[in-house]
């Protein structure tokens, strides 16, 4: 099922939670809404579900206007960050809820409901918990039950709000892989909200990066990582080295010193140079366009992470780089640095 969101505006008082947001989600996609807290991602999800209403704009699900219908008529599965399981019902009754509240004309008979619930509990591999109450389950189990409950109504789309936000790191990792394999099994169009870039890049087919109520970039995980469209995306996704530079006449200057890189068509004026930690090539002193003293080295696995105080600019600029271990760095050593891949964005303030 496809979802289309057009020109959505939502204000809380004078604060614009969503500022003219457009988004298209294709059939069977697994889309991540990624952004820091307060970026409007959860609000957007709730508007699609019908739990919140926009001040302006359109939402269509499968070409059909959704804003004319309340949440109970949209046939949308919603999974809450804190699960929102019905605490007075058993796991079985929680999953059966959506089937039991259907209008009498379409409601299935008890045997069909039981079979369907059994099937869903099997799907989330928790059939042995059917008679427990939510308070007796672990966080990961609760989240899987919440998912089974949302799937019970055979939703047209599945919306997940920070589905793994309240879980510890290990369970989170397991559930991520599990969600991805579940999605390839049932193939329902899904959107999930997360502030965890690793989660978004690992699970989703496409990532929507949001900030301050606007969409900054939409692309595949590889796209948003390798070709960030804005300074915000570059800084938010992956670790970046950010240096304040000046662009003038096609050359890039750091603290007045020209760097041996091209401006790549960046507009003249105060700018920011973004380099990934592992895209900073190291060499002997005197080579490369930057020079710095190694202050501290930590080695783990295939890389060494070095803290480097750049020469010039009063030695106050300290960057962290990731270098391969073919050449072990020593603390105190002076090295040359050259950005292999980089992006220049205009400084915003």
């Amino acid at each position: 099922m496809t979802i289309e969101v057009k020109n959505i505006v939502k204000k809380f008082g004078s604060f614009a939670a969503l500022d003219n947001v457009d988004l298209k989600v294709g059939k069977g996609e697994l889309l991540a809404l990624l952004g820091p807290s307060g970026s409007g991602k959860t609000t957007l999800l709730r508007i699609i579900a019908g739990l919140d209403w926009p001040d302006a704009g359109e939402v269509t699900i499968d070409g059909e206007d959704a804003l004319g219908h309340g949440a109970s008529e949209r046939h949308v599965g919603f999974v809450f960050q804190h699960y929102a399981l019905f605490r007075h019902m058993t796991v079985f009754e929680n999953v059966a809820f959506g089937l039991r509240v259907q209008p009498r004309a379409v409601r299935k008979d008890e045997a069909t409901i039981r079979a369907r619930v059994k099937e869903l509990l099997d799907l989330v591999q928790l059939d042995w918990l059917a008679n427990r109450y939510p308070s007796q389950l672990s966080g990961g189990q609760r989240q899987r039950i919440a998912l089974a409950r949302a799937l019970a109504i055979e939703p047209r789309i599945l919306l997940l709000d920070e589905p793994f936000g309240a879980l510890d790191a290990k369970v989170r990792k397991e559930l991520r892989q599990w969600l991805r394999s579940l999605h390839s099994e049932i193939h329902v169009t899904s959107i999930f909200v997360t502030h965890d870039q690793e989660e978004a890049l690992e699970v989703a087919n496409r990532v929507v990066v949001m900030d301050k109520g606007r969409i900054e970039q939409i692309g595949t995980p590889g796209d948003v990582y390798d070709n960030p469209a804005t300074a915000f995306v570059h800084g938010f996704i992956g670790e970046s080295i950010v240096l304040p530079v000046e662009v003038a006449g096609g050359s890039v200057r750091l603290g007045g010193q020209p760097l041996n890189i091209t401006a790549d068509g960046a507009a003249p004026g105060a700018s920011k140079l973004f380099v990934r930690r592992h895209d900073m090539q190291i060499g002997p002193a005197g080579t490369g366009s930057l020079e710095g003293a190694v202050r501290h080295v930590r080695s783990f696995g295939p890389i060494q992470r070095a803290e480097i105080a750049l020469s010039g600019g009063e030695g106050k600029t300290v960057i962290e780089i990731d270098a391969p271990r073919d050449r072990e760095l020593q603390a105190g050593e002076i090295i040359g640095l050259q950005p292999r891949r980089y992006r220049i964005f205009a400084a915003q303030d």
Binding site: G77, F80, A84, F86, R149
Partner: protein
């Protein structure tokens, strides 16, 4: 029990602690657990008061309770039965007494059931929705608690009395509110309104709206959501509020006294009858009725304790214990 332990020396109690811990736990882990128990007991000793002071404080509290709560209760029952059991039941079988009991039950039934509905609606609106004037509404709900019951009764006299705002209109249409059951019910509803709403608001606020949102997104209608999700979640709190509301409704004196008119056998509730009989020196009859109210209080107390336990059990919502 608590007075007993306060006499035991810290060292002895420490040992008692350790030995019970040893008994309760299987051998391999026993030492570890008892160590922890010992530490817990030791740190507790540091925080608590010395024995004599504890004894004095507890003795003070108990004697206060005895003088102000237990003694009056004993007096009520002693006076009621002072002329023997037969006199007691004869006093209760008087037509006036029976009429007062019936009226009290009727008024309580009306006011509790109406306040149940209004209280749930008010609590629902306050806890689950944001709207302007919410603080004002919460203050309004508390108003009956802060106003003297006599004033509460007087308000209705001013509204419905012969010289009141709607008095002439009511007289012209032969509608009796004051000095009749409707007036007594209205005054009681006013006085007891806060109980249900007040016991539900904090509970509903703590539970939030997520379960309701989940129910709606699963296709439930508003009514289905209320009866299948909201109501089961608040049932113990609701019963608690109803219980307190009922106790106050049956025991209300001030507001009812103003609007009742004291028509014998017609508009006297139990508390009013107790006063009348007492003023007429019919002590046995007066205390017999009073003993019924006292029993109501005792039953209320027991049920309240049970409900509070249930509420505490229900207070461990999923999501908190990770």
């Amino acid at each position: 029990m608590s007075t007993q332990t306060s006499f035991v020396t810290p060292a002895a109690r420490l040992q008692a602690y350790a030995s019970t811990a040893d008994l309760a736990v299987s051998p391999p882990s026993a030492r570890k657990v008892s160590d922890r128990a010992r530490q817990a007991a030791a740190s507790r000793d540091l925080r608590s008061e010395p024995g004599p002071i504890r004894f004095i404080i507890i003795a003070l509290a108990l004697s206060f309770l005895t003088i102000f709560v237990v003694l009056p209760l004993v007096v009520v029952f002693a006076s009621a039965f002072s002329k023997g059991i037969n006199a007691y039941f004869a006093a209760l079988a008087e037509p006036e007494a029976l009429s007062a009991i019936k009226l009290t039950l009727l008024v309580a039934a009306i006011s509790v059931s109406l306040n149940l509905v209004f209280g749930v609606i008010a609590a629902w609106a306050i806890a689950k929705f944001d709207f302007s004037g919410k603080t004002f509404l919460i203050t309004l709900i508390d108003l009956p608690f802060s106003v003297s019951p006599v004033i509460s009764g007087l308000v209705f006299v001013l509204l419905f009395g012969a010289q009141g705002y709607w008095g002439t209109w009511l007289q012209a249409h032969d509608i009796h509110i004051l000095f009749a059951v409707p007036g007594i019910a209205l005054a009681t509803i006013f006085v007891t309104f806060p109980f249900v709403a007040r016991s539900l608001i904090p509970l509903m606020q703590e539970q939030g709206t997520q379960e309701e949102e989940a129910a709606i997104s699963l296709g439930a209608s508003g009514l289905q959501t209320f009866f299948r999700v909201t109501l089961p979640n608040i049932k113990w709190g609701l019963l608690y509020g109803v219980l307190l509301c009922n106790a106050r409704a049956m025991g209300e004196f001030g507001a009812v006294s103003v609007v009742s008119g004291h028509i014998r056998g017609e508009t006297n509730t139990m508390p009013l009858l107790v006063e009348i009989l007492y003023n007429e020196y019919q002590f046995v009859a007066s205390f017999a009725i009073a003993s019924l109210l006292a029993m109501l209080a005792l039953i209320t107390l027991v049920v309240k304790t049970v409900l509070e336990q249930r509420l505490d059990e229900g207070q461990t919502p999923e999501g908190r214990s990770e």
